[in-house]
C-alpha cells in the first residue's frame, strides 16, 4: 500500500544535496487507496472473529501510518487500549505509541489507559515502566496528573530502581511534564531534597533529566530548591574543567556535556548571584567558558563550534542575568563583538540578539556602543531578513542621547529598502527614539516628516497623533513645524498622512508663517485644498476643520472658504460626516461673531502627558520585555485636561489656556486676540484645573494642620480638619502608584454654604511628580448639616516631598471663608510591602551601601515606646514588617517597594529602639537618595 509516496532515498546524514525522488500520483488516487484500507481495517475490527494480538497490532500500526500521512483517524482507539494490557512487548509498545500520538481526552478511554499505565508502573519491569512513563510524558493530561502525580515522585527516588537509571530519567521528565500542566497536583514533599541530590548522581543522563525538573520547580519554589545552586556550580565546574575524553559518551564533538552545561547554567538563572564562596567558583567557571571561546577549535565540524557556543551563549545569559560582574559583562560583550563578523550567519544572528540584552546593563552599555558601525553595516549587508531584524533591535537597544542622530538616520535610510514585514516596527522605533532623544525638537519634526515621506503607509495613527501632540505641547517648535509641513506639502505627490499632519498643524499654527508672502493664508489654503480630492473621508473631515480654523485665523480668506463649503460637493456630500461638517462650519462662519468664533476655535490646549501611545503599540507588537528600557516618557505637563490622546477634530473646548504664541520665524501676523472666559468663571470646566495660578487667593495653611497631616502618614482614614463651621473627613486607598481619596465636607452649621469650591493645589516642585485631580466638582451649595463627598484621583509619577494643598472657599452667612489644608498624600502611600528572608534582606541591604543611599536619623521618642504600636505603625507606613530578620529581636526591620509611574524603588528600613535612653535610631536604605531622605523624615515623626 505504500507505493505512491514521494520520498527521498538519499541518506539524510550525507551532506545536504539533491531533492527526494518524487513519484507522486494524483491526490485522489491516494485518498481512494487510503479509504479502501480504512474500510478494510474497520471491518476487521468489527468482524465476528476476535482478532489475535498480532493482527490487532498490525492494523493499529497501519492506522497510525495513515494518520501520519495526514488523514484523520476516528477509530481504533479501543483496540490500541487493548494492546496496552498485552504481555507481548511489541503489542504493548505499538499500543502506547498510538495513544501517545493520537490521544484525545476521551474520558471513557482515559480511565482504561490509566489503568494499564498503573499496572505497568507497578510491574517493576523497567522496560514496561519506561513505556508507561513515556506515555504519561507524551500525553501529560490533567487526568493523568490526577492519577500519577503522587506516584511518580516515589518512582523517582525509590530505592528499588537505584540500578535503573533510565527509569529515573523518565520519571524526572514525566513529573516535569505533569508539573507544567497541573502544578497544583504535584505535591511537594520529602522527595524534593532527594531530587536536588540527583545533581550529584554518577550517571550524567540522570543529572541531565533531573536538572530540567529542578529548574522548573525552582522557579516556583526558589526557597525549597536553594541548595541546588551550590550543587549545580560544583557540577558545572567539574564539567568545564574536564578533559574532552573524561566524560566519554557525554562528550559531544570534543565539548564535554554541552546539554547538561546549558541546563545547569539555566538553573542558575533562577537565582541571584550566590554567596561569595560559591560565587567565586562560578566566576571561575564562567571565565573558563569565555577562555575556551578564544582557544583554537578542536574540530572543524560545525557541531563542535555549535555545542561550544551554545554553552558560551548560555553563560553570557547568566552573566547578564546576574548583571553584577562588570569584568565578565565586558568580556562577554567583546566576545559577542567578535561574533558580529563571524562567517556563520547563525552566530551573527545570536550575537546581535544577545547584545541587545547587554545593552541594557549599565556596565556594558558603553562596550556595546563601540560596535555601532558593525551593526549598521549588518543592517546594510545582511542577506537574511531575520538577521537584519536583529540588527534593528540592537540599534534600538544601544541608542542613547550620544548616538541617537546617527542611529535614527541609519534606520531612516534602511527604511527605504527594508522588507515590508518589518517596516511598521522600524517606523515605531524611529518615532520613539526621535521623541525620546530629541534635544532639538526641529530635529524631531524633521524625522517624523521623513518617516511619513519614506514609509507613509506604515506610519500608524499613533505616530502622527504623537507628532501633533508634541507640537501642540511645545510652543518652541510650532513655527518650525508649520513651515516644514508647508514645504513638505509642496511635493506633487505626498502621503495622505502628511496631509493629515499638515492640515492639523496649519490649522493650529498656520498664522505663524502667514506673514511670509510665499505662505500667505490664501496660498496655505489652496495648497491644502489641492490635496482634498485625493484624500479619504477622515482626512477630508480633518481638512474641513482646518478650513474653519482658517476662517478664524485669517478673516481675509473667509469668503474663499465659505465658497468652498457652500459648493455642492461639500454641502450635498454623500458622506454624512462631511456633509454635516460643511453645513455646520458654513453656518458657524456666517452667524458667529469674531469673538465667539475665536473662543470656539481657540488654539488646542496642551495634551495631557501619558505613556507614549507609540510605545504602547510597540510593546503590543513585541511584548513588553523588549521595550521596557525606554519607558520613561517625558512629561512636562501634568494636568489631565482632556480625554483621549488623539487630537480632537476642532477645538471646541471651553477651557482656555492662552499661551504666548511664539513667533519663531518673525513672520508676524498676530493671531486674533483670544478672549476666552476667565479661568474660574463657573463650574463648567468639569475637571478642575488643579495647577491654575489661583495660588494668590489661597489661604495659608490652617493652624494645626501639620499635626493632623502627620497622623495620616500611617493611616488612611480619619478627620483631617475641623473648625466651628466645617469638618473635612478622609478615606483613601492606594494601590501601586495610584490612589483614590474620598473627601467628605460636613457643614456643621444650620446655614447653607454658598459658592462652595474646593481646589487642589500642587506647588511647582510637586507638579511634575504627583498628579491629583478632582473627578467631579461638588455642588456649590452645601445645605446646613449636610455632608458632601468628592473624589480625588492621585497618580504618583515619581518621588516627591511636598504634599498637595486642598483649598476650600465658600460663603457662609455673607462672610467669605477660605481654608487650606495639606492633603496627606505622602510618598509612603505608594509602598508595596515585600516579604523576604533574613539572608535576602541583608544581601540587599549590603547592596545599597553607597553613602547617598542611606539616611539615618537618631531621635528622642515622642510617644511611649510600645513594641506592638511600633509594629502597627511600620505596617501602617506601608512596608512589610520582617520578623526574625534582625539578629537583635528588639529591632524592627521592614522592606517594600515604592511604586511610581516611572520607577520602582526598593526600600529597606531598620528601626533600633533604645529603651533606656528613650531614643530611636532609624536607618533607611533605598536606591534613591531623595527617597531615603523623605521616608526617613516621614517615619521619624511617627515615634
Amino acid at each position: 500500500m505504500w507505493g505512491f509516496l514521494p520520498i527521498g532515498k538519499q541518506a539524510i546524514s550525507s551532506a545536504a544535496g539533491t531533492s527526494g525522488v518524487s513519484s507522486s500520483k494524483s491526490k485522489e488516487a491516494e485518498i481512494k487507496r487510503i479509504n479502501k484500507e480504512l474500510a478494510n481495517i474497520r471491518s476487521k475490527f468489527k468482524g465476528d472473529k476476535a482478532l489475535d494480538g498480532y493482527s490487532k497490532k498490525k492494523y493499529v500500526c497501519k492506522l497510525l501510518f495513515i494518520f501520519l500521512l495526514g488523514h484523520d483517524i476516528d477509530f481504533g482507539h479501543m483496540e490500541a487500549v487493548n494492546l496496552l494490557s498485552s504481555n507481548r512487548y511489541t503489542e504493548k509498545q505499538i499500543g502506547y505509541l498510538f495513544i501517545s500520538v493520537l490521544v484525545n481526552s476521551n474520558s471513557e478511554l482515559i480511565r482504561l489507559i490509566n489503568n494499564a499505565i498503573k499496572n505497568d508502573l507497578a510491574s517493576r519491569n523497567p522496560t514496561f515502566m519506561g513505556l508507561a512513563l513515556h506515555c504519561i510524558a507524551s500525553v501529560g493530561s490533567r487526568e493523568m496528573a490526577e492519577a500519577f502525580a503522587g506516584e511518580i515522585p516515589k518512582v523517582l527516588v525509590a530505592g528499588y530502581v537505584d540500578t535503573m537509571d533510565s527509569v529515573k530519567q523518565s520519571a524526572a521528565l514525566c513529573l516535569l511534564r505533569l508539573y507544567r500542566t497541573s502544578p497544583d497536583l504535584v505535591p511537594m514533599g520529602d522527595w524534593t531534597s532527594r531530587v536536588v541530590h540527583l545533581l550529584n548522581d554518577q550517571h550524567l543522563g540522570v543529572v541531565t533529566a533531573a536538572t530540567s525538573l529542578i529548574t522548573t520547580l525552582a522557579q516556583k519554589n526558589p526557597e525549597e530548591f536553594k541548595t541546588s545552586v551550590s550543587l549545580a556550580v560544583s557540577r558545572l565546574s567539574r564539567i568545564v574543567t574536564s578533559a574532552s575524553t573524561d566524560l566519554q559518551d557525554y562528550t559531544y564533538y570534543f565539548v564535554p556535556a554541552p546539554w547538561l552545561s546549558v541546563k545547569l547554567l539555566r538553573l542558575l538563572q533562577c537565582y541571584p548571584p550566590p554567596d561569595p564562596a560559591v560565587r567565586g567558583r562560578l566566576t571561575e567557571c564562567l571565565e573558563t567558558i569565555l577562555n575556551k571561546a578564544q582557544e583554537p577549535p578542536k574540530s572543524k565540524k560545525v557541531q563542535h563550534s555549535n555545542a561550544k557556543n551554545a554553552v558560551l551563549f548560555e553563560a553570557i545569559s547568566l552573566i547578564i542575568h546576574h548583571d553584577s560582574e562588570p569584568n565578565l559583562l565586558v568580556r562577554a560583550c567583546n566576545q559577542l563583538g567578535q561574533f558580529l563578523q563571524h562567517r556563520e550567519t547563525n552566530l551573527r544572528y545570536l550575537a546581535l540578539e544577545s547584545m541587545c540584552t547587554l545593552a541594557s546593563s549599565e556596565f556594558s552599555h558603553e562596550a556595546v556602543k563601540t560596535h555601532i558601525e558593525t551593526v549598521i553595516n549588518a543592517l546594510k549587508t545582511e542577506r537574511d531578513v531575520s538577521v537584519r531584524q536583529r540588527a534593528v533591535d540592537l540599534l534600538y537597544a544601544m541608542c542613547d542621547r550620544s548616538n541617537a542622530p546617527q542611529i535614527v538616520a541609519e534606520m531612516l535610510s534602511y527604511l527605504e529598502t527594508a522588507d515590508y514585514s518589518i517596516r511598521e516596527e522600524i517606523v515605531l522605533k524611529v518615532a520613539i527614539l526621535a521623541e525620546k532623544y530629541a534635544v532639538d525638537y526641529t530635529w524631531y519634526v524633521d524625522t517624523i516628516l521623513n518617516l511619513i515621506r519614506i514609509a507613509g503607509d506604515y506610519v500608524s495613527e499613533e505616530v502622527w497623533y504623537r507628532v501633533i501632540q508634541i507640537v501642540i505641547n511645545r510652543d518652541d517648535v510650532q513655527g518650525y513645524a508649520a513651515k516644514t509641513v508647508f514645504e513638505a506639502l509642496q511635493a506633487p505627490a505626498c502621503h495622505e498622512n502628511l496631509v493629515k499632519v499638515g492640515g492639523y498643524i496649519l490649522g493650529e499654527f498656520g498664522n505663524l508663517i502667514a506673514g511670509d508672502p510665499r505662505s500667505s493664508p490664501l496660498i496655505q489654503f489652496h495648497l491644502l485644498h489641492s490635496k482634498f480630492h485625493l484624500c479619504s473621508v477622515p482626512t477630508r473631515a480633518l481638512l474641513l476643520s482646518t478650513y474653519i480654523k482658517f476662517v478664524n485665523l485669517f478673516p481675509e480668506v473667509k469668503p474663499t472658504i465659505q465658497d468652498v463649503l457652500r459648493s455642492d460637493s461639500q454641502l450635498r456630500n454623500a458622506d454624512v460626516e462631511l456633509q454635516q461638517r460643511a453645513v455646520e462650519y458654513l453656518r458657524l462662519s456666517t452667524v458667529a461673531s469674531t469673538d465667539i468664533l475665536a473662543t470656539v476655535l481657540e488654539e488646542m490646549p496642551p495634551f495631557p502627558e501619558r505613556e507614549s501611545s507609540i510605545l504602547a503599540k510597540l510593546k503590543k507588537k513585541k511584548g513588553p520585555s523588549t521595550v521596557t528600557d525606554l519607558e520613561d516618557t517625558k512629561r512636562d505637563r501634568s494636568v489631565d485636561v482632556n480625554g483621549g490622546p488623539e487630537p480632537a477634530p476642532a477645538s471646541t473646548s471651553a477651557v482656555s489656556t492662552p499661551s504666548p504664541s511664539a513667533d519663531l520665524l518673525g513672520l508676524g501676523a498676530a493671531p486674533p486676540a483670544p478672549t476666552g472666559p476667565p479661568p474660574s468663571s463657573s463650574g463648567s470646566g468639569l475637571l478642575v484645573d488643579v495647577f491654575s495660578d489661583s495660588a494668590s487667593v489661597v489661604a495659608p495653611l490652617a493652624p494645626g494642620s501639620e499635626d493632623n497631616f502627620a497622623r495620616f502618614v500611617c493611616k488612611n482614614n480619619g478627620v483631617l480638619f475641623e473648625n466651628q463651621l466645617l469638618q473635612i473627613g478622609l478615606k483613601s486607598e492606594f494601590r501601586q502608584n495610584l490612589g483614590r481619596m474620598f473627601i467628605f465636607y460636613g457643614n456643621k452649621t444650620s446655614t447653607q454654604f454658598l459658592n462652595f469650591t474646593p481646589t487642589l493645589i500642587c506647588s511647582d516642585d510637586l507638579q511634575p511628580n504627583i498628579l491629583g485631580f478632582i473627578t467631579k466638582p461638588v455642588d456649590p451649595t452645601v445645605e446646613g448639616g449636610a455632608q458632601v463627598q468628592q473624589v480625588v484621583n492621585i497618580e504618583c509619577v515619581s518621588d516627591f516631598t511636598e504634599a498637595p494643598v486642598l483649598n476650600i472657599q465658600f460663603r457662609y452667612g455673607g462672610t467669605f471663608q477660605n481654608v487650606s489644608v495639606q492633603l496627606p498624600i505622602t510618598l509612603n502611600k505608594f509602598f508595596q510591602p515585600t516579604e523576604m528572608a533574613s539572608q535576602d534582606f541583608f544581601q540587599r541591604w549590603k547592596q545599597l551601601s553607597n553613602p547617598q543611599q542611606e539616611v539615618q536619623n537618631i531621635f528622642k521618642a515622642k510617644h511611649p515606646m510600645d513594641t506592638e504600636v511600633t509594629k502597627a505603625k511600620i505596617i501602617g507606613f506601608g512596608s512589610a514588617l520582617l520578623e526574625e530578620v534582625d539578629p537583635n529581636p528588639a529591632n524592627f526591620v521592614g522592606a517594600g517597594i515604592i511604586h511610581t509611574k516611572t520607577t520602582q524603588i526598593g526600600c529597606l528600613l531598620r528601626l533600633e529602639p533604645n529603651l533606656q535612653a528613650q531614643m530611636y535610631r532609624l536607618t533607611l536604605r533605598t536606591s534613591k537618595e531623595a527617597v531615603s531622605q523623605r521616608l526617613c523624615e516621614l517615619l521619624s515623626a511617627q515615634f
Binding site: 546524514s13 531533492s19 522548573t216 545570536l350 540587599r844
Partner: protein, 191 residues
C-alpha cells in the same frame, strides 16, 4: 553616638562592602525597570520532520493542542521554512516562539522552542537525533523514517521526553532501543 544602639558591625553578619555594585533587582529598580523575571525553563514545544515537497513525515507535540491547531501550525510553518534560502540562518521568530530548523538531504527537521531557549543547543539536538537515526538504520534516508516511523518515535522518546533532553549519550539511547528490539523478537518467538 548619643544612642546606645549596638554598632552595626555587631548586628549583621554581612556588612556592606565597598565596590559591591548590587545585584540586578536593585540596579534595575534604580534604572526604572521592572525587576527581571526568572526565565521559565526550556521546553521544546514540538518537533516536525517534513520533506522538501512539504509532506509531513514525523510530528511530536510536547504541548497540548487541538488537531485543528496542529494542522494550522504545520501548514504555516512548512510554508515558511520551505520559502527560506539555503544560506539563511537556522533560526527565525515565529508567533511568540523561536523556530530552529535544519535540512538534511530531502528532510527538514524543525523544532519550536520558547523565546529564552538556547538556539544552538537545539540545533545540536536535531543533529544528535539524526545521528541516532543514522546509527540505528545505517545511513538513514527519508524512506526509513516513513516505513519505520515507530522506530523513529521510539528513538526520539528515548532521547527527548516531554520536550526535554533525557539522555544525550548515543550509546545509552541505542542500547535501550536494541534491548526493546530484542524483547520484541523474544516475545514474538514465544508466541
Amino acid at each position: 553616638t548619643p544612642c546606645n544602639c549596638p554598632p552595626r558591625a555587631a548586628t549583621t553578619a554581612s556588612l556592606p562592602q565597598h565596590g559591591d555594585r548590587g545585584f540586578p533587582f536593585a540596579a534595575a529598580a534604580a534604572a526604572g525597570q521592572a525587576p527581571p523575571r526568572p526565565r521559565p525553563a526550556a521546553a521544546m514545544q514540538f518537533m516536525l520532520l517534513f520533506s522538501r515537497q512539504g509532506k509531513l513525515r514525523l510530528q511530536k507535540w510536547y504541548v497540548p493542542l487541538s488537531d485543528k491547531e496542529k494542522k494550522k501550525i504545520t501548514r504555516e510553518l512548512v510554508q515558511t521554512v520551505l520559502a527560506r534560502k539555503p544560506k539563511m540562518c537556522s533560526f527565525l521568530e515565529w508567533r511568540d516562539l523561536k523556530i530552529v530548523y535544519k535540512r538534511y538531504a530531502s528532510l527538514y527537521f524543525c523544532c519550536a522552542i520558547e523565546d529564552q531557549d538556547n538556539e544552538l543547543i537545539t540545533l545540536e539536538i536535531i543533529h544528535r537525533y539524526v545521528e541516532l537515526l543514522d546509527k540505528y538504520f545505517g545511513s538513514v534516508c527519508e524512506l526509513d523514517i516513513i516505513f519505520n516511523f515507530e522506530k523513529a518515535y521510539f528513538i526520539l522518546d528515548e532521547f527527548l521526553l516531554g520536550g526535554e533532553v533525557q539522555e544525550t549519550s548515543k550509546k545509552n539511547v541505542l542500547k535501550a532501543i536494541e534491548q526493546a528490539d530484542l524483547l520484541s523478537v523474544l516475545s514474538n518467538i514465544k508466541s
